[in-house]
């Protein structure tokens, strides 16, 4: 029968081994040769876009890369789906955007901020998501 010291060794040993593997896999994932995000394309505009995204807690309603609030549409590939003009109109709308009744916060963004958010969304749209990009709804190319 298992003794208490064996149980403790199982806990400590298992934790240390899996922790080391976890750290190893993390380092492996972020090696440049394994980059799936086009990291080199992150410029000042994309960074500014991310800052605006976070400052307004867009993730509190929308999802991006499948993460967020599930209250408003997924924005991965939104530029490909809707086009820049549509996204610009939403961000600069003087009244709360509310297609089909669900309201968005009114942001009335200026041109500079709008361009930054679009640059950020474009960068997101080019990430290799291991197949999720083909499933995430509703991609025009899958409708054909």
């Amino acid at each position: 029968m298992l003794s208490k010291s064996q149980a403790r060794a199982f806990f400590l040993g298992g934790t240390v081994v899996t922790f080391l593997i976890f750290i190893g896999l993390t380092i492996y994932s972020f090696q440049p040769k394994n980059d799936q995000t086009n990291h080199h394309q992150i410029d000042a505009n994309v960074i500014r876009g991310k800052q605006i995204w976070e400052a307004n807690n867009c993730m509190g309603c929308h999802t991006i890369l499948g993460e967020g609030g599930y209250y408003a549409p997924e924005l991965t590939k939104v530029i490909e789906r809707r086009g820049e003009g549509y996204v610009k109109a939403v961000l600069q709308s003087p009244i709360p955007w509310g297609p089909r009744g669900r309201k968005m916060v009114k942001y009335e963004m200026n041109d500079e901020d709008t361009e930054a958010v679009i640059a950020y969304l474009k960068w997101i749209g080019n990430i290799d998501l291991n197949g999720f990009e083909r499933v995430v709804s509703p991609l025009a190319k899958d409708k054909e």
Partner: protein, 446 residues
């Protein structure tokens, strides 16, 4: 109650009740918004309500864990807390940071990162607050007459929880790296170190409520927390399938997260077996209900419902849908909310000296909240599966789908009303117990 300083726990539990009630109010605001009743949109838009709802959850659970530690550690270490005054300072500062964060969310002041919305300047205050808390607990433990496994596991969970807050404070230019390390905080909290805290509290409650030998209970505690880390650490990979990192996580995350239910199954079997094995008939039946309930519901919510969408082949469709909300609600309820309510139910008679065991309202609180939460989970589940099918298979537009599934949110609101009634009864029972008193030291605690 054996030590005077254990009374501090009562005030932490009181703050828990307040924050929990407020969390439910914001949950209703979100529920009503989903069926189109968004009259508060201009004051409390959905993203504000959501940030408040989820952050209040985290804060009230942490407050509950802290209260549990202030109650358990003196008894386990067999000495008074090193400083009661500082514990009160810690409580008040925690409440102030929480209030400041929540008020800020209503004025667009946040970091906008799911679950970690607290703005940076308050992050630093959180760190100071937690350091003070850990200092008090560790000093008490260090100066204590004994160091039990239960106390060590509980303290280890609290220390790791504090350390893991740090990766969430690093700024990344890349959304992918941001998400990757955000899960170091969120996943490794809820599917890692918080389980240590849960295990520690569960172990303490089982020792007290069942009378089973401490050595037996603590041996199995090691096995369970061992299983937790063995599966949970690499199980983090299930958050990495589709966020833009290497495919290796599909394999590693798939295998290890599929093993995660084992820890929760172990926890459920452990609690039920110890209850059956125990010869002690403890009079505090309500605490026993919450304790055994927590172990079983956490297995269903965190274990089984997590497993339901954890394999990459399933998750590719369910990722980013209401299926996650289904799992999230029942998992948090079973694993963490119920264990906090269990320790409160156990501690209240002991710190107040009033033995309101087995009151009908206490049992009603247990059953109504549990039935209500089960109903909410089913409503989220049905809405989520319908969403997956319509949006991801039939390629319907997001809002078209949301209108189709809105009926499930009517059901959700009805079940939430049942749940809220249960919690209201629990809070009323908490109030009826009255304040803690030194006279409780003379009353025999079980």
């Amino acid at each position: 109650m054996k030590y005077k300083s254990q009374k501090v726990a009562y005030w932490f539990f009181g703050l828990c009740m307040l924050l929990f009630a407020l969390q439910i109010v914001y949950g209703f605001i979100m529920g009503f918004a989903r069926i189109g009743w968004d009259g508060l949109h201009n004051v409390i838009p959905f993203n504000t309500a959501r940030a408040v709802h989820t952050n209040l959850l985290v804060v009230w659970l942490l407050t509950g864990f802290m209260g549990a530690a202030y109650y358990i550690i003196p008894e386990e270490a067999q000495r008074e807390l090193v400083s009661v005054k500082l514990a009160y300072v810690q409580l008040i500062s925690l409440a102030l940071v929480g209030v400041a964060a929540i008020v800020g969310y209503h004025f667009n002041h946040w970091e906008g990162r799911k679950f970690l919305e607290i703005p940076r300047e308050l992050d630093y205050l959180v760190v100071v607050n937690v350091l003070l808390f850990l200092g008090l607990i560790l000093a008490t433990l260090f100066k204590g007459k004994r160091k039990t496994t239960t106390a060590l596991v509980l303290t280890m969970g609290l220390v790791f929880a504090a350390l893991l807050y740090l990766p969430g404070m690093i700024w990344f230019d890349s959304q992918v790296m941001d998400s990757f390390f955000r899960w170091w905080v969120v996943h490794l909290w809820v599917e890692g170190v918080w389980e240590l805290i849960m295990g520690g509290i569960l172990s303490y409650l089982l020792i007290k409520l069942t009378g089973v030998d401490r050595e037996v209970i603590e041996k199995w505690l090691y096995v369970i927390v061992g299983l937790t880390f063995l599966s949970g650490l690499l199980g983090t990979g299930h958050h990495y399938y589709y966020i833009g990192v290497n495919k290796i996580w599909l394999i590693v995350g798939g295998i290890f997260s599929a093993l995660e239910p084992l820890a929760f199954l172990g926890m459920a079997l452990f609690a039920v077996y110890m209850y059956r094995k125990g010869e002690k008939s403890h009079p505090n039946k309500i605490a026993l209900f919450w304790t055994i309930g927590a172990s079983i519901v956490s297995f269903i919510g965190a274990g089984l419902l997590g497993f339901a969408h954890t394999l990459p082949q399933t998750n590719i469709y369910t990722h980013g849908t209401l299926v996650t909300a289904m799992h999230g609600h029942y998992a948090f309820w079973g694993a963490y909310a119920m264990i906090v309510l269990a320790i409160i139910s156990y501690a209240l008679p002991n710190v107040t000296g009033r033995k309101r065991y087995d009151k009908t309202s206490g049992h009603m609180a247990f059953w109504l909240s549990n039935i209500g939460m089960l109903g909410m989970t089913v409503a989220f589940g049905v809405a989520g599966v319908a969403q997956v099918y319509m949006e991801r298979k039939m390629k319907m537009e997001f809002m078209e789908v949301q209108n189709e599934i809105s009926i499930h949110f009517v059901v959700l609101l009805l079940c939430a009303t049942l749940f809220a009634t249960g919690i209201l009864l629990y809070i009323l029972e908490f109030i009826k117990y009255g304040r803690p008193t030194d006279e409780a030291l003379e009353v025999k605690s079980y």
